[in-house]
Structure formats: C-alpha cells, structure tokens
Subunit: 288 residues, 2 copies
Amino acid sequence: MSDTVVGIAGTGRMGTAFARRLRETGTPVRVWNRSSDRTGAAVDAGAEAVALEALAEADLVLLSLTDAAAAEAVLAGMGAALAGRIVVEMSTLLPDQAEALEAQATALGAQFLHCPVGGTVAPALKGQLLGFAGGPAETLEQARPVLERLCRRVEHLGSVGAAARMKLAVNLPLALYWQTLGESLLLLRGAGIPAEQAIGLMAESSGGPAVLKNRAQVVVETLEGADQRGTFDIAGLAKDLHLALALAEREGAALPLSAAAEERYRAALEAGLGRFDGASLARRTAEG
Amino acid sequence: MSDTVVGIAGTGRMGTAFARRLRETGTPVRVWNRSSDRTGAAVDAGAEAVALEALAEADLVLLSLTDAAAAEAVLAGMGAALAGRIVVEMSTLLPDQAEALEAQATALGAQFLHCPVGGTVAPALKGQLLGFAGGPAETLEQARPVLERLCRRVEHLGSVGAAARMKLAVNLPLALYWQTLGESLLLLRGAGIPAEQAIGLMAESSGGPAVLKNRAQVVVETLEGADQRGTFDIAGLAKDLHLALALAEREGAALPLSAAAEERYRAALEAGLGRFDGASLARRTAEG
C-alpha cells in the first residue's frame, strides 16, 4: 500500500500529528475538518485540504474526531462514496459506540477498524504510538502498513468493542496515578525533600509508571509551582475516566478507586485546571 | 570500612537476605534473632549467630525487625554496649517511631540512621535495593560503604523522619496499583483478551509501573487462576498502606484513593490472600 492515499477527518491535535507523520513518511494525505480554518498545519506539512466528499475517495480514511456523534455525522456525510474504502476510527470510545460506527460504515460498504492509540502528539510525530486494533484481521492486515507509520506496535485485540475496552483499561491507571502521586506527596509534607529528589526516587521505584520517567521535568516544574500545559491534559484524562466509569456502571461493576479519582478530577476542572498536565492534579492533592 | 563487622538483629526474610548479600561481598556478619532457630540460613551463608550482647560489639548494627516495639526492645537489650557503634534501622516506620528510636540509640551513645529500603529479597541478594536514608550526613558517610553493598542507590533525605516519610510515599503507589489494575481489567470482562496480551500492553503504556514489567509472569499466572506467593505480599502492602493512612489521619490529610484501597486490602486479607502477590488483589477485583 505504498501509494495508499490516506484521508484524515478531524485536524485537531492528534489528527494534525497523524497528517504530519504520514507526510513525513511520504504518504499522500488529504485532510478535512468541520471548521476548515483548522487544517493549516496539516496543509503546511503537505496534506491537501479537501471537501468531505473528496475525503471519501481516499483509500483509507482515519477518523480523529471529538466523539462518537461527530464520527457518525462524518460517516453519514461521506455516505455511499465510502464503498470499498477502509475506515479507521482512532478515538477513545465506549464499546457500543465503536460497534454502532462499525455497523454504520459496513452498511455503507466500507471495511471498518477501531484503533484507538496510546500516546499523544509527541509519540505520534515519531511513529511511536501504541495501537489497540479491533475489527476483522484481514482488514487490519490491509491497514497495517499505514498504522505502523504511526505506531511502534499495533496489537489486534479482536472485535472493535475489545479494542475500545483495551484503550479504556490502559488509560485508567494513568488517570488514577496523578491522584495517587498527590496522596504520596502529601505524606512528605514538611519533610523538606526537594520535588526533584522525591520524583526521582518515585520514578525509580517499582510502583513508578513510565510517565514519571518520561515527563519528570514537567512534573517537577509543576510541583515547584508552575502548572504546565498538558498534551494528555486533565480535561482529557477526566473524559476517559468518565467513559470507563460509564461503562462499569452500565455493567454493574464497582470501581471504587476510579470513582474516588473522578471526584478529584471534577474538582480540578472546576478549579480551571483542565488544560494542564495531570501533574497539576497531583500538586493540588499534595497541597492538602 | 572494609573490615567493618556488621551485626544484624532480625533474620526474617529481609534480615537473612542482608546477611547473605553482605557475606557474598566478604563482610564479616553476626546475626541475632529472638527465636534463635531462625538464623540457620544466615549461618549457612557464613554469618555467626551470637547473643544480643555480642551483637552490640559489631561496628555497625542493622535492625530488620517486625515493628518499632521490637526495635525498641532490641536497643534496650543491647544497652550501653552500643556506645560508639552505628545503628541502622531498616524497616518501614512512622516518622515519630523513627525519631523515638533515634533518641533511644543516641542516649545510649550510638550514632543512628533510619534507612528503609525499596525492594525485597531478590534485589537485596543482588545489592540492588533503593535506600532512603535519614540521619546525620557524617553518620551516613560512615555507613555508606556497607549500605552500598545492599543498595544500588542510597539517597540522603535529611532527618530520620524524612526518610520514614519517603519510604511510605514510595510504597503507596504500589499498594494502590494492584487495585487500580483490577479496576482496569474489570473493564475488559467478556472481551476475550488473553491476560498475557492485556498485561503486556498495560506494561508498555505510560501508566504502567516498573513492577508490571519486572513481574509480568507472576501477574499473568495469577490472573490465569493460580495465586502466587509474594515477596512483597498483600499482608505487607496492607501494613504499609495502613501506616500511610495512620500518618495522614494524624496530620488531618485526606487520602481518598488510599482509603478506598485499604478497604479492598482488608477484604483480601479476610479472604485469606495475605501471603499472595499483590496481583491476587487485582484478580479479585477483576472478577467483579
């Protein structure tokens, strides 16, 4: 599929990063966005901005939209022009939302994959995302050359619902970690241990997640008083945490730590911290 | 201090591992245990089993005991014979417990350090623990050559209370992680994703802690139905979590996730899972 033309619906932060990375690997890219003034960065990287109808003429269409309703509207907009194309929905969804989009796309004659990713803009630009793919194995094999330009690893989980669940499961510990870190740091109150030393030790311990090593500087600067813009920010973490809790509630499953964390995220959003890195939630907790 | 004689009070799992590692590095070791029949493994490794009075004649005495009360009794038992020695208390304690032991030891004329460690038997045997040291810097410099035979890194945190706090702060995320992992896995219920695949992806994601990579096999086997003996087991995790909550409560600090996790640990202990790896708590949660 080296000449595969890739269409991208949605040029938000992630859609734009997909476009830039695919252009860098020599892939022809078409982009569409509901607000057409937001395609500039993708076009600067060599993508062609097109109307929705022309996007459906791409061999493979990536959906990187706000939510399931936006994806549904875009699929409806492309309509029968999608017949014979491959649609890959990349956002974090509930399993039944992914299944409904799959039904809609296949009814239009398209092949459909759900492939939410782990990682945000920086790994996307380096082709280092983690792809959680669901849908027919043969469709995935057709899409794999394109997905592997974005991902260091593309894992087939089974159905589109299984992929949706895996993404929610992978994101949950990250959301909970920021509150956990805050509770840990609260134990250090008054001990006079510098943030850099504490974070260095927590990162090196067996309970320390990769994010603490990868983003140590952001975390330390946040704890020292300067909230930092996040790529996977508090608003995004809260949104995915909410999806996980909605799924669990529907299935009668109890997630006590997640529920307690959600209250903290709600308070952080009310305090206007939505655009900041998760470390700002830890700091808020650590301040007691 | 290459000829420093090291005394070890307490030959439980950790004390025995300290003795074996120190013997392996050529250090002369004396051991004492309240139940003298538990010194066998240390003696087999070349340590000399002695009476408490003789232990106090070592240059440096490590305390690896059940709790602060046991440490207090052992210090009292050694009494004035400790004058001029260095005492290093290695267990997880509350800050004020560490301070009380420091006062007791210095009143006997000894120098005192608190140095709880991160890591259990396997890293101890390889000299790969993480040491959280508190006490006078000059005492630490005298003890450092011995501590570095046990630890890959010995970090001076300041006072003995600061070291105690850092240890509690480092352990908290590990205790909370097992419950967090269980909540994540509960989201996968019915998706048909094999445990090995799910754990592999969680370990590779940015919220995945080091323990999930290091102990993946134990976690997968546990999730597949076979509870595994833990070195840092559910009983130990629950004990340290309880210390953290006791400290927070005393200081009026709210730790909502930790409090929710403690309920889960209590239930796991009641279900007889105390001797098993933390993964057994995750499994119990994942079963809903």
